[in-house]
Symmetry: C2
Subunit: 346 residues, 2 copies
């Protein structure tokens, strides 16, 4: 076994003249031939990709023809790949997807979740309601799983179990794209009850390079990738929501990049024009760390126009504020991290 590289400090959080907090992390950038272009930190460590691979988990739905059979449109396909904020349009769309499959909220096995935004929480409270499983950030993904189960003729109940045909299909896709064998020895339960398998960041980055370009895929699979890529970049609001990284970055870049966050500080991205895939993890699981990291990688990799640069800057260097909105410090990439990225990617 190779010696694991320690994860360097990648992000600093300042307050006044001091660095107050630090995030460590690891980043792999791989091209669609599998060549490692940049490796920072322990990129070989088995990492749970969590929600960052929802687009790969949605692939069997499209490739099998189930998405077409169920008449899922772009917005609905984007919702299959989403960690949405539980805003009205997300909840409504997930409900429609289930209806198209002849199912309902009761068939979802992901559990309930309150919406992300206070406005949406308030709406439920005013109506004296509690959120059901449709509000779960994964409800679109699960509606897609159920749709696939239905079209495959599989039992819908228990679709979250590792042994269910839907999860078996997904496992095969992730193995093919990462080039790694997924093992029960590195399998955990995700927050929405489905299995999550550990893979290396290099494997994940390879998967997203291939997802973005279709390199080496047989035509039906390449077409399915393109369908999902287009759905997400055309309907970025469905992938996340108001003032969310994935939505704002994909909206600004108009098809140039696909980005998707996962719990515990994971991020994956495709940059087809460069033939690159990116996978990273903020070691401590912080979203403020993983967002700064991915925005920094994109800033180094891509030449940007004014709109694109503005959105990236917002995530590369967000302010830290007092409760009165006065700037007290900021979040920024660590110098060593930025230098390491530039050495390999600029």
């Amino acid at each position: 076994m190779s010696q694991a590289a320690p994860n360097p400090v990648t992000v600093e959080v300042t307050r006044g003249p001091l660095v107050e907090s630090r995030h460590h992390g690891s980043v792999a950038v791989v091209d669609d031939t599998g060549r490692i272009v940049c490796a920072i930190g322990d990129v070989g460590a088995k990492t749970f990709p969590r929600s960052a691979i929802k687009v790969l988990q949605a692939l069997p739905l499209v490739e099998s023809g189930a998405a077409e059979a169920l008449d899922f449109d772009d917005a609905e396909l984007a919702l299959c790949c989403a960690s949405h904020s539980g805003e009205a349009v997300h909840v409504k769309s997930a409900r429609v997807m289930l209806m198209k499959a002849g199912l309902s909220e009761e068939d979802l096995e992901c559990g309930p979740q309150w919406p992300k935004r206070l406005e949406d929480i308030a709406e439920l409270i005013r109506a004296d309601e509690k959120p059901g499983a449709l509000y779960n950030n994964c409800s679109g993904k699960h509606a897609g799983f159920l749709g696939l189960a239905k079209v495959l003729g599989a039992q819908t109940r228990g679709y979250v179990d590792a042994s269910h045909p839907v999860q078996q299909e997904i496992k095969a896709v992730v193995e093919a794209f990462t080039g790694e064998t997924l093992s029960e020895d590195v399998c955990g339960i995700d927050g929405c009850s489905i299995p999550t398998y550990g893979t290396s960041l290099t494997g994940l980055a390879r998967a997203f390079a291939i997802f973005g370009t279709g390199e080496g895929l047989e035509p039906g699979r390449a077409e399915a990738c393109e369908r999902l890529y287009e759905a997400c970049v055309n309907e970025p609001f469905m992938v996340a929501g108001t003032e969310r990284f994935c939505t704002d970055v994909m909206a600004a870049f108009r098809g140039r990049v696909f980005v998707k966050t996962g719990a515990e500080g994971v991020f994956c991205a495709s940059v087809p024009e460069k033939g690159l895939g990116i996978a990273l993890k903020c070691e401590d699981g912080a979203t403020r760390g993983s967002e700064c990291m991915l925005a920094t990688v994109l800033e180094v990799v891509l030449e940007t126009n004014e709109d694109e640069a503005k959105v990236l800057d917002h995530f590369v260097n967000p302010p830290v504020e007092t409760r009165l909105g006065v700037k007290a410090g900021d979040i920024r990439p660590a110098t060593g991290f930025l230098d390491a990225l530039k050495a390999d990617l600029a």
Copy 2:
């Protein structure tokens, strides 16, 4: 300058068979003579103590006689030292404190904040209200500042400024207890708009050792420390709230320990029966990290009865759960961290 020790991994977050995320951190344990008993990581680095030193910030209020002049009771003094959750009793008590000083919510300069718990947020929404500054987790501290300003005959407006007599008194106290000079070069603005000065963790730990025993203090100051210590351990709910670390630990330990959290992963504690003070920081700022760290230190330092052990266990090793409440992993101290603590403290 001495070489800074790197901050080791102190806390692991598991999911199934893997460690999914890791927190780095630093811990200083110092006795009330200033002797360093345990030092893990970069304990000399200037660290913003944030809300972890609220009890020291409340000392001038008591020592000056202002607390007595204003007839603040135990619950109100505990609220001066609190990062409360904005529950009804906290808000009401802060309002009463201001009334006793002849002031009102409008005099608070900390800014507004939504309560921590969904139940309390819901109550505001149902009443079609937004939270004011009384709901700010620091409102009790600020009410104390205003009370002190009033009794000192100082202008109340601008009491958050570093040059205001209240902040100057506090600075002198923190310097005396930490044994360090606080400098504008390491001063930031806290979330509630007051100055926060960087100090070493060893200085902070020394401060809390002395706060807990009164060692070396002149009688009036020692008495003021005892008054605040007793107020907090007698009214632990006022210091935080429902299902909060500070409240639950102080309630279970019935006067054996004083503990106080601060933003960005800081924790301070006094263990008078051992003559010890503890100061720690989770490097990335995560509360789940700092809570596990302090609970682990307390578990190593103290012999505990069943109730005390149960509460500590809950924070040393909390479960990670799916949205349906199924256990998916846990949070736990890293073996190396636990061994290092035991070597110095067991």
